[in-house]
Amino acid sequence: MLRKTRTGSGVIELQAVEYGYGSGTLLRDVSLTLPAGSFHFLTGPSGAGKTTLLKLCYLELMATAGHVTVFGQDARRLDRTGIALARQKIGVVHQDCQFLDHLSVADNIALPLTVSGRDDAARRKDVVDLLAWTGLTERAEARPPELSGGERQRAALARAVVVSPDVILADEPTGNIDWEMSLRLLQLLVELNRLGKAILIATHDLNLIRQAKSHVSARVLRLRAGRLEAGGADL
């Protein structure tokens, strides 16, 4: 089902990145490296730029200064197709996970396989396995609007990992779900990390971070006044 990521494979790297809009600067001199198999938490108050930093990582936004390197390629040199192909190697989980409401949960999870032309019988088996792994087997044929918040988060995670991406970026993945479901989701992410996937989770749920640190060697980063700093000491 989920394939192990080769050690030393490509990572996402931000060097002295700045991001501004209008007259304001949201991120200043941000440097971050996500090696294969790493586990990072990104914290900070609302509006600190956590989502923006994640968007810079999956090339939804382009840095106004500095360098973003994705799998060894300079983000600025990537054309639209290059960006799309890079995203096929990045799994993204949003707080307000979006689905195609006219497709079933199983088809939504298989969507990254479909768009990358890998939607064959063997990969469909992966979808079945992922549905079981995320506890959504019974909901396979349901439409996304019929899912609960927790089920949507798990379906989003399943969709993010179905192509066995090298990096998983999650933006407040536990924002809409209860503690029990948060732990379950965390457990899934820890399992993925053990397979060598680089994980970056933006969250302000400190309990979740503490819980994770008891299972995995996670580095905690804090965004403050647009700058990134180590923030794990108090956890």
Partner: protein
């Protein structure tokens, strides 16, 4: 700029890829309806063009087949010059049935303007000689020179002056027919562009999700391009069939009806409207492709 492979990818069948865009009811019906209506009109424009072609050919053939020589001379010389002109015509290759019109025939020609009591004998009217041209035609310049020498009052009129404006009119009508087909094509492209743009705008969230998971622009565009191309072709098929059926039941060509009853298609002309579904499909492909990539460029 996309590669030829990308162009092929845009129309390649992929059942799962086609499913990623939700069905869009009203734009689907609009596209089929617009294509059908335009194809129906295009069939009539094509029939009109062919009819005008036939009319132009007929005018040209009818006018090119006859010519006249007008002999104007003093009363004492007119008969001698008429005979000289008839002799010259009789010896000219490509000329046959040359004869001088009788006084009665000349009166008949003038009657619409001067009434039935015209005293032809008392008027210094020129004598008209009518003849027919036969293959391979006659040398008009040579005949003029000979008439000038043998019958100085004879003037050859090979109807060139009259034929030219008629042929020009027919050519303009033919151009109008072609222009109509072109305008129909532009309208088809515009309508499909509007429908495709509306579909793209209403599926903005779908496009965002597809982009998030790494779909390329070509992949996203394909779902729209294929859908609209096939719909336009379906509509064009329906419209072409209906248009051809309507042309088929037009009244047959009748002498009394003239141009209006000659509007139908004849023989191999029936094959021409059959290319409409393919042409409209191609137009839909180009229009939707342009609309899709423009919309995707704007949706950063």
């Amino acid at each position: 700029m996309t590669s030829p492979a990308s162009e092929i990818a845009l129309i390649k069948s992929d059942v799962r890829a086609d499913k990623v865009v939700p069905p869009t009811g009203h734009t689907a019906h609009l596209t089929v309806l617009a294509s059908a209506a335009m194809a129906f009109l295009a069939v009539f424009a094509i029939a009109l063009s062919f009819a005008v072609n036939r009319l132009a050919d007929r005018w040209e053939a009818e006018l090119a087949g006859t010519a006249t020589v007008r002999v104007s001379a003093p009363a004492g010389q007119i008969e001698a010059q008429t005979q000289a002109a008839l002799r010259a015509l009789g010896q000219t290759p490509g000329v046959t049935d040359a004869r001088a019109l009788t006084d009665e025939e000349q009166r008949g020609l003038l009657e619409p303007w001067f009434g039935p009591d015209l005293p032809v004998d008392a008027l210094p009217l020129p004598r008209l000689i009518e003849f027919r041209e036969v293959a391979p035609g006659f040398d008009a310049t040579g005949l003029r020179l000979r008439l000038e020498a043998e019958a100085p009052g004879a003037v050859l009129d090979d109807h060139t002056r009259w034929r030219a404006p008629l042929v020009r009119a027919a050519e303009r009508l033919r151009t109008l027919g072609v222009l109509s087909v072109g305008i129909i094509g532009i309208v088809v492209a515009a309508l499909i562009t509007l429908a495709a743009s509306a579909a793209l705008a209403s599926n903005r969230q779908v496009i965002e999700v597809l982009r998030l998971i790494g779909a390329t622009d070509t992949y996203i565009a394909r779902a729209f391009v294929r859908r609209f191309t096939l719909r336009a072709m379906l509509g064009a098929l329906i419209g072409t069939a209906a248009g051809m059926a309507a042309v088929a039941v037009l009244p047959a060509t009748q002498e009394a009806g003239g141009f209006l009853t000659g509007l139908g298609l004849q023989g191999p002309e029936w094959a021409a409207p059959l290319v409409l579904p393919a042409i409209i499909g191609l137009l839909a492909f180009v229009a939707t492709r342009a609309a899709a990539f423009r919309a995707l460029r704007e949706l950063r």
